[in-house]
């Protein structure tokens, strides 16, 4: 069942507007690939091109090493969850789910159990007789997922399939989709804005930005070793803090940089030279206000957000740069006071002026 997907310099233009600028990507058979990227970066477009719904303006698309650019969508063996759901408005939920199977020529008796099972997974058994119009947003989204998963395609494409579900359901659905992937073993491409989904489901995350690939890699790789500032900022929530810094000295085994007026020694050699302006990056969850670690700066607390399980401090450094600190649990810190933020130098990132990690 599993199918490889290869994009070769794939481009997409809408009229004179380039939205995908030549993407090269290889997805191995049975891989679970997650596309992430800012809104409007071209994720849906990419999925739609793979599905055959959007013409490929340039480059080639290979499925199992066969060129597919001109093959009709119906013949590619792909199932897709649309970002806009695109449920058949004139069919009941049951019919919506059964439609693909009917099309594939399954018998009524074969269809029924499959549909019921999918409905059970998606917790929409009670809604099977309704028309999409009479469903809530999340219920519609689940039907849209169901329509894809009742089938056994070569490739699944999911376009933000869980965005309108509540947290609990989202976790359950995530588990179910992972299970489905395990059982069917087919290739899955999944678009999401949810960090947790991306981190937990993906074999490989593809970070897109304005129609280009910024980095491809395993989830923790991207988290721990972002190739550039964009990826560093995009992976992980809350976002990584970026502070202006300057390299003071580069030694063999360590580098000293100046951040917020403090000279800080990093225990590794950076690809830079003394005097170079760089960006220092540190994730909010890697900052602490307790003792231990290296002091970064004493910061003024602008805003405290208490999330229950965590507390966010939005602060300003003495030189006026923003710094977010994520603390565990519910902390009694007051707005307007100041604290000293400290960090573990092994956990910080440094980027050069072009954004590349050094």
């Amino acid at each position: 069942m599993a199918t490889s997907v290869v994009l070769q310099k794939v481009e997409k233009r809408y009229g004179s507007l380039d939205v995908i600028h030549g993407i090269d990507l290889t997805i191995d058979p049975g891989e679970f690939v997650v596309f992430v990227g800012p809104s409007g970066c071209g994720k849906s477009t990419l999925l739609r091109m793979i599905a055959g719904l959007e013409e490929i303006s340039g480059g080639g698309l290979l499925l199992d090493n066969e060129r597919m650019n001109e093959v009709a969508p119906a013949k590619r063996g792909i199932a897709m969850v649309f970002q806009s759901y695109a449920l058949y408005p004139h069919m009941s939920v049951y019919k919506n789910l059964a439609f693909g199977l009917e099309t594939a020529g399954y018998k009524k008796a074969q269809i029924e159990p499959k549909v019921r099972r999918a409905a059970e997974i998606l917790q929409i058994e009670k809604l099977l007789e309704r028309k999409p119009k009479a469903l809530s947003g999340g219920q519609r989204q689940r039907v849209a997922i169901g329509r894809a998963i009742v089938r056994e395609p070569r490739i699944f494409l999911f376009d933000e399939p869980l965005s309108n579900l509540d947290a609990e359901l989202r976790v359950q659905m995530r588990v179910e989709i992972s299970r489905l992937h395990r059982n069917l073993g087919n290739t899955m491409i999944y678009v999401t804005h949810d960090q947790v989904e991306a981190m937990t489901m993906a074999d490989k995350i593809v970070v897109l930005n304005s129609g280009r690939i910024e980095q491809v890699g395993a989830p923790l790789d991207l988290y721990n070793h972002p190739a550039n500032r964009f990826v560093a900022g995009f992976i992980g929530s809350p976002k990584m803090n970026f502070l202006k810094a300057k390299i003071e000295r580069v030694n063999d085994g360590d580098t000293t940089i100046n951040v917020c007026g403090n000279s800080i020694r990093l225990p590794r050699r950076l690809k830079g030279s003394a005097g170079q302006e760089v960006t220092f990056g540190i994730r909010p969850e890697h900052l602490s206000v307790a003792d231990g670690g290296i002091a970064l700066a004493t910061v003024d607390i602008d805003l405290v957000e208490n999330l229950g399980g965590a507390t966010m401090l939005y602060t300003k450094t003495p030189d006026g740069q923003h710094l977010t600190v994520a603390l565990d649990g519910q902390q009694k810190v007051e707005r307007g006071t100041n604290v000293t933020a400290s960090f573990d130098p092994a956990r910080c990132h440094v980027f050069d002026a072009s954004g590349a990690t050094i």
Partner: protein, 320 residues
């Protein structure tokens, strides 16, 4: 829920199934790209080439002959066209009558049809009956009853004048006065607004309700909703009605035929283009000439239509 998916059988043959789908030659690619379209078009193509194209071509040929329907046609070159252009005052008069009719009947009819469609698009009681009643004039088509009725309305002693008399106005016999008769035909056309009305109704039904929800939250009054939401979203249908009604008005025949008894009178004031064409063909046995008239009309309509299509880019909103 739980491991329900596990029991789904994997389909081993799938890979084979998709392999065949790959286009392997130029021909296949062409075929794949075009075949569905042409297959769907097949009935129409058959009809066009089997039934329409031949006769149309024939009539084009006939327009270069002196065909009188009874004898074989004789080639006369462009003589018919030359005559139309240079020596046929009736052509000009028929064209101007027709243009007047088009310019008046189409906009009024469309506006009226849209108004009624809007009125009938609400959730009021007895709607189906109202709709049917408002369609009735169109149901009667071009029957004798209409001819008589129009006389009763617009003759010297008709209802219209009786109404005008209330205001001390003594009207002429509108229907048979050369200065006014065309307007009674315009009125007839407007009164038979049923078909554009139904099409408008169908169009109104297709406008998503949530557009009105959004607009009403944006504070838009009913009127503003109408002209900011309804009208723009109805433009494909308005466009259709405008094009089709214009073509129809150019080709208008029956109203003048029944109201004037085929004469186009008084004084050619209702001598529509196609009525003239009909007189030439069937009254004066000049089918060749009539064919030339017909093709000139086709060209004129085509120009109007082409213009409409060009303009549609700027005002017709398609959702696809």
């Amino acid at each position: 829920m739980n491991n329900a998916m596990r029991t789904m059988p994997a389909e081993a043959a799938t890979v084979e199934r998709y392999r065949g789908a790959v286009a392997d030659s130029r021909f296949r690619r062409l075929w794949n790209a075009n075949a569905p379209g042409y297959l769907f078009l097949l009935p129409w193509l058959l009809g066009f080439f089997g039934l329409t194209f031949g006769p149309a071509l024939m009539s084009l040929y006939l327009s270069f002959t002196d065909f009188d329907m009874l004898r074989s046609p004789g080639w006369v070159g462009a003589a018919n066209y030359v005559r139309i252009a240079t020596a046929d005052p009736k052509f000009a008069s028929a064209m101007s009558v027709t243009l007047t009719y088009v310019m008046l009947a189409v906009p009024f009819k469309l506006a009226f049809a849209l108004m009624v469609a809007l009125a009938l698009n609400r959730g009021i009681k007895g709607l189906p009956i109202y709709r049917a009643i408002f369609y009735l004039p169109s149901l009667l088509g071009a029957s004798v009853a209409i001819a008589v009725l129009w006389r009763q309305l617009f003759a010297g002693d008709g209802l219209v004048n009786a109404a005008l008399a209330q205001f001390g106005i003594q009207g002429p016999s509108w229907i048979s006065h050369p200065n006014y008769s065309i307007y009674t035909l315009v009125a007839l056309s407007v009164w038979q607004f049923g078909s554009p009305m139904i099409i408008f109704l169908a169009g109104l039904r297709q406008i998503p309700q949530d557009m009105y929800e959004a607009a009403s939250l944006d504070g838009a009054s009913k009127f503003r909703q109408f002209y900011k939401i309804t009208l723009p979203l109805l433009t494909p249908v308005i466009f259709f009605n405008a094009v089709v009604q214009t073509i129809d008005a150019f080709k208008a025949f029956t109203p003048a035929f029944i109201i004037s008894g085929g004469t186009g009178g008084p004084i050619n004031s209702t001598l529509f283009y196609t009525l003239y064409l009909y007189q030439e063909a069937f009254g004066n046995f000049r089918m060749g000439y009539a064919s030339a008239l017909a093709w000139i009309l086709v060209i004129i309509i085509a120009i109007f239509t082409a213009f409409s299509f060009l303009s549609s880019r700027y005002w017709v909103h398609y959702d696809d």
